[in-house]
């Protein structure tokens, strides 16, 4: 992903491309690519912001957005909560011996 400075919610904000996107990185270069990423708090926050706006502009911020834009988020939330409650749900499986 391109590194940017400041908030960006649409593509007309000018972006200096410092490094390659993930799909353009060759397999041997992967460790050095990971080390080049910005893992500071502001870098991680920027990554979340980019991801949020990517999803938002693709599914919700369109003229005739459907209900699937928000249903996908809720489905991911259900899976996330399931992973948290797996620990005590596994005692409720239908087995003869637990």
């Amino acid at each position: 992903m391109a590194s940017v400075v400041g908030i960006f919610s649409h593509s007309s904000v000018s972006v200096p491309v410092k490094d390659k996107k993930l799909l353009e990185v060759k397999l041997g270069e992967l460790p050095s690519w990971i080390l080049m990423r910005d893992f500071s708090p502001s870098g991680i926050f920027g990554a979340f912001q980019r991801g949020y706006y990517r999803y938002y502009n693709k599914y919700i911020n369109v003229k005739k957005g459907s209900i699937s834009g928000i249903t996908m988020v809720l489905a991911c939330y259900v899976l996330f909560s399931y992973s948290f409650s797996y620990k005590h749900l596994k005692h409720e499986r239908l087995r003869k011996y637990h």
């Binding site: 938002y56 005739k64 957005g65 259900v78 909560s81 399931y82 948290f84």
Partner: protein, 226 residues
């Protein structure tokens, strides 16, 4: 089975850190803001709903009470979205924790009461004695009114906690009863399943109503004290 029944109310943790904080911070992601006049469908419906509820709630206050409108509208949106998200399977509802509801109720109630005592002392103290009581009853009635005032934040918090927790527990129990009866006796399974569907509709209503009641009572305390 007893341990499993209440296990969904334990706040989730990641390696000992509270993940409940992440779950409380999740609803604002579903309510985007916008700087445009004409928006996408999601923001338009949400803005329409917010306008409807805020007009309905804030008409009864005077100018000083309306300074609280941001607080009350965000309160009702937070409680309503949190309760409704808790109806999804396996999710954790923060409003089932008494600690969170107390943290919401006590500052709001205390703010309204202290505001009333600072601005209009006579009016605020007059609430302690209803009109037209016979003279011998006055000391006892003042004590009773004081207690009923001091119990208001407790009642707010406990009402919300108990309603949501009881609804979730009932759904757990009736759901597991349906599953257990499905191998024994099929017609009664259908009856119990119908009860489950009705209960889910009730829970959706309760989620919204509890948010409304909480906010309405806070605004009532505000109205008394402005």
């Amino acid at each position: 089975m007893n341990e499993n029944l209440f296990a969904s109310f334990i706040p989730p943790t990641i390696l000992g850190l509270p993940a409940a904080v992440l779950i409380i911070l999740f609803p604002p992601l579903l309510i985007p803001t916008s700087k445009y006049l004409i928006n996408n469908r999601l923001i338009t419906t949400q803005q329409w709903l917010i306008k409807l509820t805020s007009k309905q709630m804030m008409t009864m206050h005077n100018t000083k009470g309306r300074t609280w409108s941001l607080m009350l509208v965000s309160l009702i949106i937070f409680i309503a979205t949190t309760n409704l998200l808790g109806l999804l399977p396996h999710s954790f509802t923060p409003t089932t924790q008494l600690s969170m509801n107390l943290a919401m109720a006590i500052p709001l109630w205390a703010g309204a009461v202290i505001m009333g005592f600072r601005s209009k002392i006579k009016n605020a103290l007059a609430h302690f004695l209803p009109q037209g009581t016979p003279t011998p009853l006055i000391p006892m009635l003042v004590i009773i009114e004081t207690i009923s005032l001091l119990i208001q934040p407790m009642a707010l918090a406990v009402r919300l906690t108990a309603n949501i927790t009881a609804g979730h527990l009932l759904m757990h129990l009736i759901g597991s009863a349906t599953l257990a009866m499905s191998t024994i006796n099929l017609p009664s399974t259908l009856i119990i399943f119908t009860i489950l569907i009705l209960l889910t509709i009730l829970e959706i209503a309760v989620a919204l109503i509890q948010a409304y009641v909480f906010t309405l009572l806070v605004s009532l305390y505000l109205h008394d004290n402005t």
